[in-house]
């Protein structure tokens, strides 16, 4: 049983509540118009795979006119892996390397740039240490195919030279390049994803010292 005092409190409570209701009913229709600017950055995604020797039939072809010799890579090359290994090459002779590099880019960006440079000049190793072949006179690149469509390039097809990076700290035997300023891009994509296929060419100066040479060609993909 509710005491008299309690009944009084409940009654006052109801009254108070009822008294507030009109006030609440008046506040509900009031609308404040305005605008808000929302800015946010989408978390970037970029997947970049680089596959050497990406198609069957990869390898070195001596530059000749007419019927092309069968590709024959050096021992450091393997299907989908290893080096772009031209193997034994004669001084004063040009070569094509088929299916050298496949770049696959997937991102959520509206586009991307590809930068490709040598980490240094083509640098003598082992007993040939100290010898240098300027990479921009020695290693060249040209568009290729996915390997399903035959590649008709030869060692004399039009090509562009690689440059040695100007970025400080890069060395011939380390693929890393730390850019403070990017060089001229090899490729500018208006889309966020794409595939690029490249052959390489080697033009060996007739005065080249005999022996082994090595360098990294480093690709840097930057979303735009």
């Amino acid at each position: 049983m509710m005491s008299k005092a309690n009944r009084t409190i409940v009654a006052l409570g109801f009254a108070a509540a009822l008294g507030l209701l009109p006030a609440l009913a008046q506040a509900a229709p009031t609308t404040v118009n305005g605008s808000a600017t929302a800015h946010w950055k989408v978390q970037p995604t970029l997947k970049f795979t680089l596959t050497p020797n990406y198609a069957s039939g990869f390898g070195t072809v001596k530059a000749v006119f007419g019927a092309q010799p069968a590709p024959a890579p050096g021992g450091g090359a393997a299907f989908g892996a290893g080096a772009v290994d031209f193997g034994n090459v004669q001084a004063g002779t040009n070569y094509l390397y088929k299916y050298a590099a496949h770049l696959n880019v997937i991102s959520n960006a509206p586009g991307f740039n590809v930068y490709g440079e040598g980490t240094a000049d083509f640098t003598g190793t082992g007993a040939n240490t100290g010898s240098i072949l300027p990479i921009n006179q020695t290693i060249f690149f040209l568009k290729s195919t996915d390997g399903v469509t035959p590649d008709s390039n030869t060692g004399y097809s039009p090509a562009q030279p690689f440059s040695a990076t100007g970025a400080a700290g890069a060395t011939y035997n380390n693929p890393a390049i730390t850019y403070t300023t990017y060089p001229m891009p090899l490729f500018m994509s208006p889309m966020g994803a794409g595939d690029l296929y490249y052959d390489y060419q080697l033009k060996v100066n007739s005065g080249a010292n005999l022996g082994t040479y090595f360098v990294y060609v480093t690709y840097t993909v930057v979303t735009t």
Partner: protein, 215 residues
């Protein structure tokens, strides 16, 4: 006596005919191609679109409702080779294997003694042929490049050089054009004259000047 005179006249007539033939008809003298040398020629035609370096760090779609932050990934491919001796040694060499020119479309520029071609041999009779491997582009014919050669050690350019257009091997029924016949060692300078049609779009174009020696 009359018979011998006729025979002598016939021989002399044939000799005169042979000597009077243009160089391009030297096919009859071709023996065996021994080796080739190539010079890569890169022409950067202005205005070159690639020269307009974009700021890769600029954010795309400024003012758009959302931005994608820039991100970079990097990977490298090892490239290697083992240079071995050319079995023909220094029989046919060039002073460079790469030429790079920057030139504006619609201009003609002379490049004096762009390179040397050297023959080092004791062979008493050889023939040197030349030509381009390809056109620079469908819009930029290889015939737009001309050459004249002369003894290069020391360089003795002719007073009135007569340039010849470079023939493009695949456009010339897969035939080279005769350069010169010689004996023993020889060193020549080659002047180039490049006339880029005004219609050629800006960009980079390349071809190869090929030299072949036969004996």
């Amino acid at each position: 006596m009359i018979h011998r005179r006729r025979w002598t006249s016939g021989v002399l007539a044939m000799l005169a005919l042979c000597l009077g033939l243009p160089r391009s008809a030297d096919a009859a003298f071709i023996q065996v191609q021994r080796t080739q040398a190539a010079i890569y020629i890169l022409v950067n035609v202005a205005p070159a679109p690639l020269a307009r370096r974009p700021d890769p760090r600029a954010i795309a779609y400024e003012g758009a409702p959302f931005d994608v932050a820039q991100v970079q990934k990097q990977k490298g491919i090892p490239v290697q080779a083992n240079v071995i001796a050319n079995p023909y040694g220094n029989l046919l060499t060039t002073s460079t294997n790469t030429l790079v020119y920057s030139q504006t479309a619609g201009t003609t520029v002379l490049y004096p003694c762009a390179y040397h071609v050297k023959v080092t041999t004791a062979i008493a009779s050889w023939t040197l042929y030349t030509g381009l491997s390809n056109d620079f582009d469908p819009s930029f014919n290889g015939n737009d490049l001309s050459w004249v050669d002369y003894p290069g050690a020391p360089p003795t350019p002719p007073a009135t050089p007569v340039f010849q257009i470079f023939r493009v091997y695949p456009d010339n029924n897969n035939a080279w054009q005769a350069d010169r016949r010689g004996s023993g060692n020889y060193d020549e300078c080659v002047d180039l004259s490049l006339a880029i049609p005004a219609s050629v779009p800006g960009g980079s174009y390349s071809s190869n000047a090929i030299y072949s020696i036969y004996y």
